[in-house]
Subunit: 239 residues, 2 copies
């Protein structure tokens, strides 16, 4: 059985303007690979409702599971929850379970649960809450979409809550070999290797170091014996 | 006149598997903002032809200009040029102008222009070459799509070649203010500010520092006087 497929949707003008360098994509990619889920596509869109709704619908229909990052805070530019509801035609309002979490938290910390903070309790009908041990305001899962915060510490905590609920496949194993020759010199044998091992993914990542060319060859697959055999043949070829 | 809109397509299994952290998106985002081009969407797809072709068609149709990164080297997994040709129904083969660039380069450096390296001279009919001062193998522009290498030093050199050919709008100006209060405390006045300045984009980026909450408020727009006025009002409100 093939591994489940996944997509990620990053919501945030700050990434697209170059102000912030996204960190969540790289984190999620690594976690999914370990868990045996194949991340097949990432999209980054701006804080505009039509763009978010369209991307949620497209990704939710095309992949087994979708993760979103960003846009669930208390300010006017946090519109992700409402967009998810719209994408699935679900009703959304402040929900009692989420409100209770926030009320307890703000009472305990002596701050006011004002109208802005109550926005963080807007959860679509039918969604399950995702625990936020960092700052309490929850994420949620609706259909096959998991909606998480953009702040990296919160995002990572939410991924840790959600991943165990997803049935992964065999983790992708990988081995790599550094070859200190230009890609053009190794491309022929590398293509033959890829043909001999059709179940493996063989990638070549070139670099330049002190003026000399080289490439890191990465061989990935879920069958460890095949990965071992391919890397052994690669070593022999370029020994 | 609104600024031209742009999208980026990052091609690479190594990003989606978490092996490599993409650097080109953040670089391009910053350069486009300075140049007055609005980056509206980024997609990351794997090294699979149907995914690349579909993304090129979708983005090319939806935005004024598209930039791709990755997949134009000499190895078997470098299929971007052929996918771009397919997306536009263009014929593709080794082209004389690109072959001449490579032949000169490899002759000068005493290396062989073998079949693998010749793959880097595969350029669709009708495309203009993009100069590669780092490692010679060119990128190309076809219709509104600019096809560039994934290696960051080469990508950046190609962006420097392409950007002057694109008519940008007014650069996006931004000012930011750090407010050491939780987003929930400032969201109300911030929403009112956004309504008072509908032409500006007002973003709130929360952080936690030594256990205390704060947010960086970023105000962006192409009219400097408006940005100044909005940031002044923000300062007053939270002084």
């Amino acid at each position: 059985m093939p591994n489940p497929s996944a997509a990620m949707l990053v919501i945030g003008d700050e990434i697209l303007s170059g102000r912030t360098r996204d960190a969540n994509m790289h984190y999620l990619a690594g976690e999914l690979t370990k868990h045996g889920v194949d991340l097949k596509e990432v999209r980054v869109v701006s804080d505009e409702a039509p763009a978010i709704v369209a991307a949620v619908r497209a990704l939710s229909g095309a992949y087994d599971v979708v993760f979103t990052s960003g846009g669930i805070g208390p300010t006017h530019d946090d519109i992700t929850a409402d967009c998810i509801a719209e994408a699935f035609g679900a009703h959304i309002d402040v929900r009692d379970d989420a409100r209770a979490l926030l009320a307890d938290h703000y009472a305990a910390t002596g701050r006011e649960l004002n109208a802005a903070r109550l926005r963080m309790a807007r959860i679509p009908d039918g969604a399950c809450l995702i625990d936020n041990p960092v700052s309490i305001a929850p994420g949620f899962s609706l259909e096959n979409v998991h909606v998480m915060a953009g702040v990296p510490s919160v995002f990572q905590a939410m991924v840790a809550s959600v991943l165990p609920t997803i049935t992964g496949g065999a983790p992708l194993l990988s081995q790599s070999l550094r070859i200190d020759r230009g890609e053009g010199d190794i491309a022929g044998p590398l293509g033959e290797l890829a043909q001999a091992f059709p179940d493996l993914s063989i990638g070549s990542y070139p670099f330049q170091e002190n003026g000399a060319f080289g490439a890191n060859i990465v061989i990935r697959g879920s069958d460890g014996a095949q990965v071992d055999a391919a890397i052994a043949r690669l070593r022999e070829t370029f020994a």
